[in-house]
């Protein structure tokens, strides 16, 4: 199958591309960031998905499937740029796909779509609307892109569309939102709160996306692997020191004093859990994760060791 991956330069996308190649698929990538050292079998187009050149790739190469991974999180760009990339880019991908014979498309979204708040259920199912956007407006463009992608399910019935809401990924690459949060020696926490974090090994996430493609899933699916863990336990397993701070102090400190950059609204995400029920995806595709939650956290710690070892919750 000929598969086009917008956003192929991201770590997860590269892993997906390598797996597709190994399975004998033809892989085309679009990403202005480029990919130094990419496998030579992959045709790379270092262009912006919203530009005219990108449509030409669809027109000339006629991919059968598209895996849209060209979205970015609030940590990486300002609001205007995020809207251009996340919403404008997603619209372009779906329009080009519809106009140039693509038969299957996967939109790779995020489980943070659901938002974090005190009144939300612990396990989110696909039927739930996003919550708490008011407290974290930086999420709005990703939520809008997710909802827009889902409209293809009724707007473009000939296109086999799946929206995958993927939990955090973690692993030896050190890429991703959770890895950035854990990168320093200290992991900031809101004093008195220790939310569950839902994450899966980056290799499992890539496997799951490839599985979704070959199973030709249609619909909206949460994608997760093993059970979630409290943030303090993740920090401990990753060899970091949890640093509980009063919420007001934390709000002033983020981005300074060696703490990771974090928008103020994101503090809800370190107070309350975002956990997803991925049962429908597992039932539909037969996907099973290979790495449990502790192995996953340790694989990150082995690649990015931190000095010292905290133990908020003693091992058993």
């Amino acid at each position: 199958m000929k598969v086009l991956i917008p956003g192929i330069s991201g770590l997860l996308a590269r892993n997906v591309a390598r797996r597709l190649l190994a399975q004998g698929h033809e892989v085309i990538g679009i990403d202005p960031r480029g990919w130094p050292g990419a496998p030579e079998e992959i045709d790379l187009y270092p262009i912006d998905i919203r530009k005219r050149d990108a449509e030409e790739v669809f027109r000339q190469r006629r991919p059968e499937a598209v895996i849209h991974m060209a979205t970015i999180s609030a940590l990486l760009a300002d609001a205007e740029e995020r809207y251009r990339i996340n919403l404008g880019g997603t619209r372009a991908v779906f329009e080009h796909s519809a106009n140039h014979g693509v038969r299957q498309i996967l939109f790779i979204g995020r489980h943070t779509y659901y938002g974090a708040g005190p009144d939300a259920p612990l396990y989110h199912t696909e039927s739930e609307p996003p919550q708490e956007l008011g407290t974290y407006p930086e999420l709005a463009d990703l939520v809008a892109a997710d909802l827009y992608a889902a409209t293809a399910l009724w707007r473009l019935p000939a296109l086999q569309t799946a929206v995958l809401r993927v939990c955090y990924t973690l692993g030896p690459s050190g890429h991703g939102t959770l890895a950035s949060f854990l990168r320093g020696r200290f992991v900031p926490m809101v004093l008195g709160f220790d939310p569950l974090f839902h994450f899966m090994h980056e290799d499992d996430a890539a496997d799951a996306i490839v599985t979704a493609l070959s199973a030709k899933v249609r619909g909206i699916y949460n994608l997760a692997g093993p059970q979630p863990l409290p943030l303090s336990v993740i920090a401990d397993e990753a060899g970091r020191r949890a640093l509980p701070l009063p919420e007001t102090v934390l709000a002033m400190l983020v981005g300074h004093a060696g703490l990771p950059r974090l928008s103020r609204g994101a503090l809800a995400h370190v107070k309350y859990p975002i956990v997803v029920d991925a049962t429908p995806f597992r039932k539909e595709t037969g996907f099973a994760h290979r790495f449990d939650e502790l192995t996953t956290a340790r694989s990150f710690a082995d690649a990015f060791p931190a000095r010292g070892r905290a133990s908020l919750v003693p091992p058993h």
Partner: protein, 258 residues
């Protein structure tokens, strides 16, 4: 204190991972600390007497449904302690926490790590479908707000628990909890002051604070009740089932030795 608590936590039939955390975030370490405190209260302070424990299923989904007694969650704590300390193998009864709890630092974390999720229908259903033991007080916060003079009465029962039992095909184990009203004799509730500090109300006792005195408490479990249905029955039908559970709890309250 003889430490049978850690051994009992080890014998809980819950799917803990190698760090002692399960899929709902229940933590063996937190349970051990909490049950050490609860065991002291249960055995030494209140000398709780539990009867009919054979009616609590040793495993599989079930709902413990009973009356509120006492101005704070003493009743829930002692019922949970009785299932943990007296059943063999021990079981973790998981309560439904008032929504305000999730906003309170530390309390939020400890409540969740001990298995008591926010009182949402989604949580109750998911716990039952995971074959857990659910603890329900159908009187809700109105029940804990009962004054001392009303301590042996039952206020209105909601119907949500019955629809849940029907939908998940879960047996209901009725229980009566007595003595909480004497341990914490509420003479009034301060609703406005409670709101200011983020709780539904503050109970006032003759000694002002809702600190329990060491009176004897008891919990009596009745035979499991099973109801057939889909959970989508009309209100009148469900209310009829609820009345049967309520009558059974009232009966157990009369039979209680306390």
């Amino acid at each position: 204190m003889p430490d049978d608590i850690a051994a009992r936590v080890d014998r809980l039939e819950l799917p803990f991972d190698a760090r002692g955390v399960d899929e709902f975030g229940v933590s063996k370490w937190h349970l051990t600390v909490a049950f050490r405190a609860l065991a002291f209260l249960y055995r030494r302070y209140f000398h709780v007497r539990a009867e009919g424990l054979e009616h609590v299923p040793p495993r599989g989904r079930a709902m413990l449904v009973g009356n509120h007694s006492g101005g704070i969650a003493l009743d829930a704590a002692m019922v949970i302690a009785s299932c943990f300390l007296e059943l063999d193998p021990p079981r973790l009864a998981q309560g439904m926490a008032e929504k305000f709890i999730n906003r309170v630092p530390f309390v939020s974390t400890w409540t969740a790590r001990c298995g008591h999720l926010t009182g949402l229908p989604e949580h109750a259903q998911r716990l039952l479908e995971s074959e857990r033991l659910l603890l329900i007080f159908p009187e809700g916060a109105r029940g804990t707000a009962k004054l001392w003079k009303d301590r042996s009465s039952l206020v209105h029962f909601g119907t949500g628990f019955m629809r849940l039992a029907l939908r998940t095909k879960s047996p209901i184990v009725p229980f009566a909890f007595l003595g909480g009203g004497d341990a914490i004799p509420t003479v009034g509730n301060l609703y406005k002051l409670g709101k200011l500090i983020g709780v539904p109300y503050l109970p006032v006792t003759p000694w002002l604070l809702p600190l329990p005195r060491p009176t004897r408490l008891s919990v009596v479990y009745g035979e499991p009740m099973r109801f057939e249905g889909s959970g989508d029955e009309e209100d009148a039908t469900v209310e009829g089932y609820v009345d049967r559970v309520k009558a059974r709890i009232a009966d157990l309250m009369q039979r209680s030795p306390a």
